[in-house]
Amino acid sequence: MADRFTRREFLKRAAIGVATAGLATELSGLDPEALEGSAEAASGPTIAVASKKDPAGLVRAAVEAVGGMRSFVKKGDTVLVKPNMGWARRPEQAATTNPEVVAEIVRLCRQAGAREVKVVDHAVDRPDSLLLRMTGIADAAKKAGARVAMASSPALYEKVSLRRGKALTSAEVMRDLLRADVFINVPIAKVHNSTVLTLGIKNLLGIIWDRGAFHRSTSLDQAMVDLATQIRPHLTILDAVRILLTNGPKGPGRTDDRKIVVAGTDMVAVDAYGASIFGMKASQIGHVRLAGASGLGESDLRRIQIRHV
């Protein structure tokens, strides 16, 4: 426990971190590039970091760098794409996943021969019709050839036991996801008032029916890791095209255009890099640290092979 920050200390550091992460990245000493080990030395999982392109280009480059969509999606597969469309906010407010990012993922899946691509979320906010419209995701993804839905009925969920769960022993998971051949997790990078940041692991809270059970459990961080241990996305694509820096997760808050998309099969590694975008270490994010410690994935940036494209 000695190495654990006190909350107050953490908040101070976090504040400094975010303050410096913006324009003064190079001077801060928390530069993402400086944190990561050289690609040769790293022996862990590979993630791709695309930057300085339009959103669709970022997705294409990042996915290509982790093997291309065809290595995940086979002809005739059913793909479930889980973006964050859980808030009644417009895309530019950066509380929900960039619609162009989602649309490009759908297109790549279709090109790879997916029989069906479903874009589904279980929103916190209501009403569904408004969320689908405001976030711009329904329009964009439908045009790209996906079916878009909010899974807002308990009938659409199935109970899954979390065998290795420490805080939770079961959760109701979207049936569509359980039956899909491929599951692609598409979070947006935001600050979060409770979990510090919301990245890939946190985004999984949108695939379960009773979110409240996670909050009622002994530890929200542990419960999220319990879920992630059981439900593992085949691919995690982190949208950091525009990130939300304050008043997350719903905003409206201060946003920053980073023009980054991170992709990888190791969700924890993607989250670890996601933390560095905010000038933080994975160890500062409770659930990412726990996920790394429990062997769910690699949370140590030095061991992650990062391909910048």
């Binding site: 009644a88 209501r126 409240g212 201060r254």
Partner: protein, 598 residues
Amino acid sequence: MYRRLRSARGFDSAQPRPTPSAVEGRRVSQLVFLAGFVLLFALAADPLILPVPVDLYLRADPLLALSAMVSLRRIVPELLWYALPITLVSLLLGRVFCGWICPMGTTIDLCERVFKMRGTVAASPQPRQAALAKSKTPTAAAKRHRLKFYLLIALIVTMLIPSAHRSNQELGLTQTVGLSAVYLLDPIALLTRTFTWVALPTAQWAAVLSQDTVGGWIDSDFVRRHGLLDRGLALAQTGLDAVARPAFFRLGLVALLVFGGVIALSRYERRFWCRNLCPLGALLGLLGKISPFRLAVSEKCNHCLRCVNECKVGAITDDPKQYRGPECIQCYSCLAVCPQQAISLTAGHEAAARDDGLQLDRRRVLAAMGAGLAAVAIPKSSLSAMRSSATASVLKLSSFRLIRPPGSLTESAFVTACVRCGECMKACMTNTLQPAVGEGGLEALGTPVVVPRVGACAQSCTLCGQVCPTRAIEPFTVEEKNHLYIGTASVDRSTCIAWASGRECVMCDEACSYDAISQDVSESGVLRPIVDERTCVGCGMCEWICPVEPLGAVRVNSSGDRRHLRREEQKLLRDQVEREKQKGSPYQGSESPYASAG
């Protein structure tokens, strides 16, 4: 001046029974207007796409307009304009609305047809002399007819008596308001309410049920194995674009019973509701007294009394040459059934003399007025009305859970103006608008209240203000929702996960649309929610999302309700809060993780 409705066909034609064109036309009209009613009802949802108001039928109802203006002592030009057409038509043709337009009347007609209800006390053909003798004294049926006029009188008295106080924000003074009980009996309000509280949830449940069952079938292994899963049917499985959560309304059963009762009365007499109870019918019948048009019976009449039997509303006396003008709904069934073709619609002084008129019993009129006066006791059922101060009528002391939709009038005016049509609840995107059960006392039964545990008042939705026919909810914009305070949330620290058990949660802060929840950091580093009551508008998002079951540890109460202030004043207060925040208030202190980032 003498005109014949079916002159084209000619009464002297060789046909034994001429095609009843007027009746056919009336049936088409009835179905078209009923379809229009259902369509507008269905379209009272986001987004409002029609150029006409979706509450058109309610707005066009002269009785509702009369009530909304008389009881609130205000003139609303919009209400006048919309109510004008039916008023004019009624002046010209009496209760033609009841026979040709009223969706309630059509519904009753349809139900009579479906359930084969012809009325057990329908007049039977009687010997001519007996019929003539009887026509001098009013029959029991004729006495029943008058009930609706007494009801109308009672309703108008309730509108007139000063039963509560209202602070008139426009005029800056306190004035009296009447009480409107018109919602109890107005047919359009009653039907819309039944549609919202009963028909809508039923239809949605049916949709979901078929979705679940059919969807389950589609997704079975058998279907999968045989590749039967096609895109069209798969739509049903995920519930794409389909109704996922049916709406539900608390008083649905009550509405169903009332509506069922109205329909069941037709077993006793056809259109029992229309002929004996409907105050709108009474009002339109009275307007029609000056109509120049009358049904005239020619000398060809052989007293077969078929018209008497056929008349849906019992308007024709046992002497078929006479009928009660204010009763006739201009359905023209009598024209169609008359084997002698002796009946025609005429205009002129001579025909007008045949109108039987209405002879109200003076004692009953007085009794009706007395009943109207006695109704003043109703609003005294809540504590708020019993407090005599001017502000008491806007502060609702009856219940801390009386949370009105944004833009609502002050409480006593709201209760008076609201006709419980349920249109706002139909349009509400989150189902949070529910009929009040006990929140506002007896006088507020069925009026809309925000019930956050069902859903929150969505930040970017303004539908209820747009669809309210009587302007009980005044229209408002999304920007105004920022300062139209409907209540205030407060955290119950004894049950809140973070406060009581020291675990991480803050779902309420996550979900808050107005950034009104901030965090207190405990000794052990747990974030604990605090509501900034200056920014909280009471939308209920926090209460809706709170994982503490069953009530939620953060709850909205009506203490923050600012309806007693004008909108500009509410905005000024909100702007003041913003300025304070800019200056650096305790709510944006060093505890905020990203405060120093800006």
